[in-house]
């Protein structure tokens, strides 16, 4: 079996034609992933027992003539910030090195109910904090397209396994661009659904008002299928939305003629020229497909980074308070008093970026600074959301770059945290507004580095986003 060339629909057809069994496919995927992983460090650990048990269940269903589900037999990887019962979940942190969750995330349960085969847990930045996957306590991930470069972050492992072909699809999480940016850097499709579209139950919290679970895949169709399988109301997450889940695959009909597409002028400042040229070419292609392109303005873009890094660090400092040596696996040996235990456990356990964000978050929430930073940022967030609402009164979708530049070299940006934060400029606004957004590949630079095109639509309109992405993808293949 050639795992890197597989798609969900191909697997469905192959299983039906008995070209291979689900167990054979799972074993082949596990073997291939284990042999390829030393190149990229994209998997932190494998879950062979669970994968083979899930695959056997798919084979049993097929033998009985039953439907094996939307993802029957499909080998997937799950970012290691999403809990898997009985399978180690580390958040790429030393603090959780030995954490075995007692429950499954809702997204995981739903994908397995549809026949998915989880072969392993994907590396990422510690607690999903980072834009390069260099903040993992278990070593960085290398970009499979160019091994001396980062895969992006924080879901770098989830993007890399799909690009490398060691999984067919994967799950990541996005708080400020952590799905779209690595998808763009690795040349795969990555989707951040509407906030609340997918349950966050079992997603280890970083910034709860911004955290999303979403899929990576090699085709738009496969991401649509994965989202359909896991979206929808979950009573374990009070912020999950009750809105009905449409058939996203039915939206992939190529009908994009007449769609009005907005180009936010603020998103083309500071864009590296080769990436800019590829984005322009993509926009020309959308015109040829019959879309109408209009320039729009999202005026609060310039303040978005400041807004985002106040809100996300404030929420992170609160969410990470629970790792104090009491409940979660690690406790410092220097724990004479309770206060020593808290301080030393956290001091030993958290990496540099987590410490930085805990400190910033604690500072902006502290007495005397709350109004100037946190409250002000929440108001600016409201203005950013209003910018989008105004834009979507005029256009059906917004198209923009994902990142100001393609994948950079390992170590290149680690010395300057602010520069790293600034690279998130085009992706954080979608999270702040809570709208669906995705990255779809739009070509490679002369050096062969992938560039992604970002598509954003209004709340719960993933269908239009997928329809446009799919039509564009198909027109590039043709």
């Amino acid at each position: 079996v050639n795992i890197p060339s597989l798609t969900i629909s191909q697997i469905k057809a192959d299983l039906a034609a008995k070209i291979y069994s689900a167990v054979e496919l799972a074993q082949a995927a596990l073997d291939f992933a284990a042999s390829e992983n030393p190149k990229t460090n994209a998997y932190l650990h494998f879950s062979a027992d669970r994968a083979l048990a899930a695959a056997r269940a798919v084979d049993d269903k097929l033998a009985r003539g039953e439907d094996p589900g939307l993802l029957g037999g499909v080998p997937i990887a799950v970012k290691d910030v999403i809990v898997t019962k009985g399978v180690r979940t580390t958040c790429a942190s030393k603090l959780l090195e030995n954490y075995i969750p007692p429950y499954d995330a809702t997204a995981v349960v739903r994908l397995e109910n549809e026949g998915a085969v989880i072969i392993g847990k994907a590396n990422c930045d510690e607690f999903a904090m980072g834009s390069s996957n260099e903040n993992s306590a278990f070593g960085p991930v290398r970009n499979p397209v160019a091994l001396d470069r980062v895969p992006g972050g924080s879901s770098g492992g989830s993007a890399a396994v799909v690009a490398q072909g060691t999984a067919v699809v994967s799950l990541g999480s996005d708080t400020g661009g952590s799905i779209r940016q690595p998808a763009s850097f690795c040349g795969v499709v990555g989707v951040t659904p509407t906030y609340g579209r997918v349950s966050r139950y079992g997603l280890v919290a970083f910034a709860s008002s911004l955290d999303h679970i979403g899929p990576f895949s090699r085709t738009v169709e496969d991401s649509a299928t994965v989202l359909k399988a896991m979206a929808g109301r979950d009573e374990c997450d009070a912020t999950s939305a009750a809105a009905a889940v449409p058939d996203y695959n039915a939206a992939l009909n190529g009908e994009v003629k007449g769609l009005r597409i907005g180009l936010p002028k603020e998103y083309f400042e500071g864009l590296e020229s080769e990436s800019g040229a590829l984005i322009s070419r993509a926009i020309e292609q959308l015109k040829r497909l019959g879309c109408t392109i209009v320039e729009i303005s999202l005026p609060t873009t310039e303040q978005a980074i400041a807004c985002y890094y106040i809100i996300c660090t404030a929420e992170a400092s609160s969410n990470l308070a629970r790792y104090d040596g009491v409940r979660y696996t690690s406790r410092s040996p220097q724990s004479g008093t309770l206060a020593d235990m808290y301080r030393n456990t956290r001091g030993d356990g958290f990496g540099r970026e987590c410490k930085r964000r805990i400190m910033l978050g604690t500072y902006v929430l502290s007495h005397g600074y709350y109004d100037a930073y946190y409250l002000k940022a929440q108001k600016v967030r409201a203005l950013i959301a209003q910018d989008f609402a105004r834009a979507f009164a005029e256009v059906d979708a917004i198209v923009a770059p994902v990142s100001p530049f393609p994948a950079f070299k390992l170590g290149e940006k680690m010395a300057d945290p602010l520069q790293m934060y600034l690279s998130d400029i085009y992706t954080i606004t979608g999270d702040l507004a809570g709208i669906p957004c995705m990255s779809v590949p739009c070509g490679n630079t002369r050096e062969g580095l992938p560039v992604g095109l970002q598509i954003l639509t209004k709340h719960f309109d993933e269908s239009t986003m997928f329809r446009l992405a799919h039509a564009y993808e198909q027109s590039r293949i043709a």
């Binding site: 030995n98 954490y99 075995i100 007692p102 429950y103 906030y195 609340g196 109301r233 009573e235 009070a238 912020t239 939305a241 009750a242 809105a243 310039e302 303040q303 980074i305 400041a306 807004c307 890094y309 106040i310 400092s317 104090d324 040596g325 009491v326 409940r327 696996t329 690690s330 724990s335 008093t337 309770l338 020593d340 235990m341 808290y342 301080r343 030393n344 956290r346 001091g347 958290f350 410490k355 930085r356 805990i358 400190m359 910033l360 604690t362 500072y363 502290s366 930073y373 002000k376 940022a377 929440q378 108001k379 600016v380 409201a382 203005l383 959301a385 945290p417 602010l418 934060y421 709340h459």
Partner: protein, 102 residues
């Protein structure tokens, strides 16, 4: 200067986070640079703007409520809840002594 090393120590204390002397120095430098950048927020007029704490969209008022029924499959025993604790016993989390004998 937005933040001094002394303030960094104070914030680390609030966050229950032990930092080494080197970390305090580097943290003061990084936080200062970032907090100066955050001044950008002052460029925006937010008079009369309601703060946005959460993504909101149209939905029924009760759409986030679940039926008040037990879910035995989701029930945690204390054995399950303490299984990942660094130190546990008799169904409890154990921590260093909090109250000293006088």
């Amino acid at each position: 200067m937005k933040i001094t090393e002394k303030e960094v120590r104070y914030v680390a204390d609030l966050a229950n986070l032990r930092l080494t002397e080197d970390e305090i120095q580097a943290m003061a430098h990084d936080m200062d640079e970032i907090l100066v950048y955050m001044e950008k927020l002052g460029q925006v007029n937010t008079d009369g703007v309601e703060p946005m704490a959460q993504v909101l969209y149209a939905a029924d008022e009760t759409s986030t409520l679940r039926d008040d029924v037990e879910h035995p499959e989701r029930r945690f025993t204390s054995a399950i809840a303490t299984a990942n604790a660094p130190q546990a016993g008799q169904g409890y989390f154990k921590v260093p002594k909090v109250i000293e004998r006088a």
